[in-house]
């Protein structure tokens, strides 16, 4: 699959995320994590890492535990065993808003946009953590609170430019077609200026043209701002073209971890996808 060259470089400005980690060093480390729901073991003893500045793909057949893994990284599910180390901080239990405040941002498998709000409001929602003007100023709006809104509006407009969604800014997102909704969701995740961006099947349900657009955006985000990306994806072509490294899950266990070419050639991986019982 051909991915077009990046475009729109200047619009977002220099926003390389400063999170104290050197490019190429370990940003996220998952160690011996196990997660079960009642009797169901969703994740069994998985370990892998994500290096700063790379695009890491997480792949595997349906039900392998990929989304659960992202949920664990987000702090939404708490693993029974194992630890997650992010930006040098080790933690076992964490509330989701703490993950967000440390710089993890996310899109969802089933688009989780705020359906009652417009595109603009949804992306502004991504800036929530950066807005601080307290209740008193919020009551009067005109003044410090409004100025803060306008500042953030500027940043959000840059993202809207980047993602080429100017025409739908005021449209309630519930009315948008699926492909655009996914793009808005990406914008919302970007608005938070994350260190680590988790993408859960960003290309699901898209046609070839939309996939090319989305891939272009993903590469731009990674190359221009140095945002580290972990993505779950089923389209092998996309994975092989975009990813720097790949980790493969099957039935909650890790069965391969390495560069795309090695993983593609691994017999275990081929068996897992072909459904060979093992």
């Amino acid at each position: 699959m051909n991915v077009a060259t990046p475009q729109g470089e200047a619009s977002l400005g220099a926003r390389i995320v400063d999170d104290g980690i050197e490019p190429g060093a370990e940003l996220l480390k998952v160690e011996n994590v196990s997660l079960s729901f009642g009797g169901v073991k969703a994740i069994q003893d998985i370990s892998f890492d994500v290096k700063k500045g790379e695009i890491r793909a997480i792949i595997g057949p349906n039900g392998a535990g990929k989304t659960s893994m992202l949920n664990v990284i987000n702090g939404f599910y708490h693993p029974q065993e194992g630890t997650i180390t992010f930006r040098g901080n080790v933690r076992t239990k964490m509330r989701p808003y703490m993950a967000a405040s440390q710089g993890i941002s996310r899109t969802f498998q089933n688009v989780a946009l705020f359906t009652g709000m417009s595109t603009l409001d949804n992306i502004m929602a991504g800036r929530q953590l950066k807005m601080h003007k307290n209740f008193f100023w919020q009551m009067w709006r005109y003044g410090p609170a409004f100025n803060e809104e306008v500042e953030h509006r500027l940043e959000v407009e840059k993202i809207i430019d980047f993602l080429e969604i100017q025409s739908i800014r005021k449209t309630p997102v519930g009315q948008l077609p699926y492909g655009l909704q996914k793009r808005v969701e990406l914008g919302r995740a970007l608005a938070a200026e994350p260190s680590l961006l988790l993408l859960d099947e960003p290309m699901a349900g898209m046609n070839l043209e939309e996939k090319e657009d989305m891939s272009r955006f993903i590469i731009d985000v990674n190359q221009q701002f140095g945002t580290t990306i972990a993505l779950i994806e089923h389209d092998m072509g996309v994975v092989m073209d975009l990813a720097d490294r790949v980790v493969v899950l099957d039935y909650g266990k890790k069965i391969a971890d390495g560069f795309p070419a090695e993983v593609q050639a691994s017999q275990e991986v081929i068996d897992a996808y072909l459904g060979v019982p093992h």
Binding site: F114, G126, Q138, M139, W140, R141, F146, R153, E157
Partner: protein
């Protein structure tokens, strides 16, 4: 052809994010305020002002309060009546203890007591969601009602258990009590409601309002975006109860002149919920429209037999009113579940392209 935005371009984000970006809307609001502040007091008769406009405004404020909690934050509540009561009794006690403090300050102040009670009963919302939350708000409703009866200190131990409003003045004009004129009371209520509506609008458009709506739409995604559920939900309960409390204090001090526990019972909680749902969840305009519908419709219905010259026994009229209101509620819910505000928005949309059909 009249309601056009053509030619009204915004050149700054500030202008784009104004509350009423369209000129015609701004003119309409100015006209409404002019009518409310000038025309009505001058031309309206006492009945109209006392029995229609004042309760309409008071319940609008309560409806705004509930809308903040249910419409914007998605937490269903049936405790509004009791929170209004907290405001009313708080105001009563404060005016007994501080008879020299300006009554308007006390009315606003009583909102804080409501807010605190609201926050306490809002704590369960962190664990309990959706429909189950209704039960906890009912617990608040019935428990507070019991408090109003049992805690004699609240009504200064008088025998009847009712509270009566003492006369209070401001700038030499009598504002509360039996001698206060309807026009005076109306203007005070109107001013408070206008200011508080403006404040509510500001909060909703800002970061806090956005957090509330995020919780309502998808609370998990909201948390993953950094919204702290505790702060968002508790702040919603606090602000909502504040508004209900002020409405309750105004209801007693600037409208009824006296009150008993029945004024804050569960039926009122239901009525205010109707106002919010009928008017439109998540719409300030809807709160006003819903309040107008529920407060004014029974009066209009009651006046119709007289106008038509038909004689109907009073009890029968009450029953028929119930039936009509119930039927209309069902009718509107079927026709437009998003409420009168949505019907209004659709109307405006048609007006935009008028005289073309689309």
């Amino acid at each position: 052809m009249f309601y056009r935005e053509a030619g009204q371009f915004k050149t700054s984000y500030k202008a784009d994010q104004a509350v009423f970006p369209i000129l015609q809307d701004r003119l309409a609001i100015a006209a409404f305020l002019a009518i409310a502040f000038i025309v009505i007091p001058y031309f309206g008769n006492d009945f109209f002002i006392n029995s229609m406009m004042i309760p309409f405004l008071i319940f609008s404020l309560a409806a705004i309060g509930l809308n903040i909690l249910t419409g914007y934050t998605g937490q269903i509540s049936l405790g509004t009546g009791a929170f209004m009561g907290v405001g009313a009794y708080a105001c009563y006690k404060m005016t007994s203890i501080f008879p020299d403090v300006n009554i308007i300050i006390l009315i606003i102040g009583s909102g804080f007591f409501s807010a605190i009670v609201g926050m306490i009963f809002g704590l369960p919302s962190l664990r309990i969601k959706g429909f189950y939350l209704v039960v906890t708000t009912l617990a608040a409703q019935f428990f507070l009602e019991w408090c109003f009866i049992t805690i004699g200190w609240l009504y200064n131990y008088n025998d009847s258990g009712a509270i009566e409003v003492p006369q209070r003045e401001m700038f030499g004009i009598i504002i509360t009590g039996a001698s206060a004129s309807p026009v005076t009371r109306y203007l005070v209520v109107l001013s408070i409601v206008v200011v508080m509506t403006w404040v509510a609008s500001n909060i909703i458009r800002g970061r806090i309002g956005r957090a509330w709506m995020m919780i309502r739409d998808m609370d998990i995604a909201a948390e993953l975006m950094g919204v702290r559920p505790l702060q968002a939900k508790i702040s919603a309960f606090a602000v909502s109860s504040f508004y209900a409390g002020v409405a309750g204090a105004m209801m007693v001090f600037l409208w009824l002149g006296a009150a008993e526990v029945e004024s804050f019972d569960v039926n009122h909680s239901f009525l205010i919920l109707f106002m919010v749902v009928l008017g439109g969840l998540g719409s300030l305009l809807g709160s006003f429209m819903g309040a107008a519908f529920i407060t004014l419709l029974p009066i209009i219905l009651g006046a119709i037999p007289g106008i038509l010259g038909v004689d109907i026994n009073a009890a029968t009229l009450e029953h028929v009113k119930f039936m009509i209101i119930g039927a209309l509620i069902i009718f509107f819910l079927i026709m437009e579940p998003h409420g009168l505000a949505r019907l209004w928005a659709i109307g405006k949309q048609k007006l935009r392209v008028w005289p073309f059909p689309y």
